[in-house]
Subunit: 355 residues, 2 copies
């Protein structure tokens, strides 16, 4: 189970032997890499959560209508991604590790898909990240050809996609065709006219897209996955509440607090990671295990039905979630990291599914 | 005006010609550097805000009493710091830039003061940061001997202090005597028994210090500096509200929202930085100007006195502040980044000073 999002139709690659990744722009060299050539580079594996910026948009729309796909709380997924390090590929075109500026003034790395999007007037989906992030091996940006130990599927970007850990999914471009070293950030629609966050006071009649930086790292957030919002539970007593928590930019999860009285009193959840959570992979000892991956958590709490259950996470930089969605409402409905609230009823076994 | 905080008496250095910085531990070499030797290394300048983790502790104590110095909203300051890069000093003892582990298994860099603290049983104040941060020139960690273009004063760490930008002030050790390359993080009191953050459910009767990571990066926050809480303003109409905003870990400030109705409607503040704010220094073009420095802001808003004015900031990772201090209350009263609220009265010119 892993969410899928594409802005144009999913491309079909008929003959993989014809595939080439073209790398060029403001670099000393250019190169054209076949899939075989990419697979001959050192293989690097990263456990990372990829998240659509519109995760939990439906809940934001309940406050005031926003435009965009109506996502519940599952527009994200945690994967084991394997491929070539982007920093290794950039060395081939003459850009060393930890570069801020290329020899020809490049400061950003643009990823261009092979798909065709109406927002780009039929052109391909694209996005960029700063050159320093691209050439920094610690940022773990990879060109992935495997997901969870298997060949990447078409829906997830076959034959090659970018994975930019800790950054909203919009920059992890699928069906990668070109990598361009460019002077300024990518001018594509999805960098300049979408995936930006405005204050609650800005709506479609007064929006100025040029006034904002493109969104990159996502903020601290969590959600309750079980029980589902609107569930009916029998009896009273303890309920096991489970969910996920994550933060962007390599920040880990310090803790998750759960409340059965709508936020008056709190119980700290147990965090599960690595083998215990079934991820099957423990990253390098030098990294905290939640650097790029979500943390699964659970808490056993006393409830008196009907009950409002609330969860909120704190990241390793002590960032917290917004209590009320109204205070972070934005016209594109992105990055809804308000406290997650569910209501549990106290009678029959009937289940209502959450949006 | 710059806050001062020391855990032991401020040391006196009688004769600077006798001063030596000792660098050693799990490194290939050791070295002993005079101030002259340190000043011969390339001089690097960083504009950075240093913040006590206890900033705004007094406001947290109003909810439920916490231990610690009662700070208002000025236990922080923005300075222009000049000195040697820590990463250059570590190269002298054989540890290259961007190292995660030294040749002898060092993973942390410990800073030891010359002062004497009762919490350390008369030993010196100390703290540590990960080796990767210490050897990463982009993290801008410096050994500073100048503050705002002048020789460091005794209160601020003469003759040499560490400045770890984006991290709570407790790691920016003053009166630096030793730098030790160590395998595990520093075991000193201020790393292990203080400057950690617990959930609201933990109090002094059930605290387990070993269950938490030491606090490092600080979270997104802002405060209203003018008008002061409890001020009396004449008449009605527009009021100019001014303050600061900052976030840790190199994250910039995306925006500040101000409300004159306690949070129902918001006005976006204007952000001032660089020359406009009187900082007198514009960092490297490649860095955003708010990477380590606070952002000063102001907003002209319509108020109907008496009024509750509220401010909240959003950082470039879309992190927000907590609405209510109760939800982030912690027994040490650290990192109170709840929305800042002031009350303005509507009659005489009498001023009440804020705690």
């Amino acid at each position: 189970m892993f969410y899928k999002r594409n802005h144009g139709p999913v491309p079909v690659l008929e003959d993989i032997s014809l595939y080439r990744l073209e790398v060029g722009g403001l670099a000393s060299n250019r190169c054209s890499l076949s899939m075989d050539a990419i697979k001959q580079l050192p293989k690097h594996t990263v456990v990372a959560t990829i998240q659509c910026a519109g995760n939990r948009r439906t809940a934001m729309s309940m406050t005031r209508k926003v435009k965009g796909v109506g996502w519940g709380l599952a527009a994200l997924g945690n994967g084991i991604w394997s491929g070539a390090r982007l920093s290794d590929v950039l060395e081939i075109v003459g850009i060393p590790k930890y570069s801020r500026v290329s020899a020809y003034g490049g400061k950003h790395v643009e990823f261009v898909s092979v798909d065709k999007c109406k927002e780009e007037n039929g052109g391909p989906y694209k996005g960029s990240i700063p050159l320093f992030q691209a050439t920094n091996p610690e940022a773990d940006v990879i060109l992935a050809y495997e997901m969870n130990g298997e060949e990447l599927s078409r829906d997830h970007g076959f034959p090659l996609r970018v994975v930019v850990p800790g950054v909203l999914g919009a920059r992890s471009v699928k069906w990668l065709r070109n990598i361009n070293i460019i002077a300024e950030e990518c001018q594509g629609f999805f960098m300049q006219k979408d995936y930006k966050m405005f204050p609650p006071s800005v709506d479609w009649d007064n929006v100025n897209w040029g006034s904002r930086r493109p969104l990159m790292d996502f903020p601290v957030q969590c959600a309750i996955c079980s029980p589902e919002d609107g569930s009916y539970l029998d009896g009273k007593g303890k309920v096991t509440v489970k969910g996920y928590a994550l933060s962007g930019g390599g920040r880990g999860i310090e803790r998750v607090d759960v409340s059965a009285d709508g936020g008056k009193t709190w119980t700290e959840a147990k965090l599960a990671q690595g083998p215990k959570s079934g991820l099957g992979y423990i990253p390098d000892d030098d990294d905290h295990r939640d650097k790029w991956a979500w943390v699964l958590w659970e808490a056993s709490i006393e409830v008196h039905l009907p009950a409002d259950i609330v969860a909120k996470a704190v990241d390793t930089s002590a960032n917290v979630q917004a209590e009320h969605v109204e205070t972070i409402w934005n016209l594109r409905g992105v990055l809804n990291n308000s406290w997650h609230r569910i209501h549990i009823n106290g009678t029959s076994k009937q289940l209502h599914s959450n949006l």
